[in-house]
Symmetry: C2
DNA sequence: TTATTAGTTTCCATAGCTGGAAAGTATAGT
DNA sequence: ACTATACTTTCCAGCTATGGAAACTAATAA
């Protein structure tokens, strides 16, 4: 898929705090659709749509075990987000070092 | 403003390729609203709304010179985006190094 | 086979985004 | 004072996002 379209999907998926919260749960461990529905007080239908959207954006992937569907974080996709940010960064003058340092110490502000 | 709400605004603003294109223009130099309207073949009204949205997200700021309004990239906001990404990254095992390397060489894939 | 469980998809109502047109505001020019 | 320029805001129409309810599919259990 075209990069611009992929970035549209990725950023749109990230533009919702509930979906970001889902990702944070998944970054710790895989979860079934039902588990996520319970944790976020949404119907199965509603959570299923959020998950499809996250999958469209390649931020997660699913595996099936019997009736259950496990959702997993797709860690590789963050490379694409990082790439976009560094592309923006290349226009900066001396701010790239600042950003690198910031990322390398884990995003903590001083 | 609350961090979650700010991230909503930032990612939503980034979820549109036209707005990302505006940001790329502004990362090179400040531009007036009219210049941007011409470059993107939008009416002044339409572009003005995109710019307000970008300003709400703190991705740009405006300065006035007479009748003209100059739009400037707000480079500092990318720290917040980088922070979110590194927060996600802290859950990864050995993928952080990979991401760091990727960012440090400018987002090029090999 | 029949019933239950786990998800997905469809339908519908509500709400929000987007863009053009047009009206409104503020600054500059004559 | 009057006109033109540079935007912003409002109004309206069309499209999309979201969520619940209900219908539908697939896999397990009895």
């Amino acid at each position: 898929m075209e990069t611009n379209k992929r970035l549209d999907l990725i950023f749109f998926a990230l533009a919702d705090s509930r979906r970001r919260a889902i990702l944070e749960e998944l970054s710790e461990d895989k979860k079934t659709v039902s588990e996520l529905a319970n944790n976020f007080s949404l119907t199965l239908g509603a959570i299923s749509k959020h998950l499809s959207l996250l999958q469209e954006a390649d931020l997660i992937y699913k595996t099936k075990q019997g009736r259950q569907v496990f959702c997993h974080m797709n860690f590789d996709i963050w490379k694409e987000v990082a790439s976009y940010i560094s592309m923006q960064a290349k226009f900066w003058n001396n701010r790239l070092d600042e950003l690198d340092g910031f990322i390398n110490k884990g995003g903590r502000d001083e």
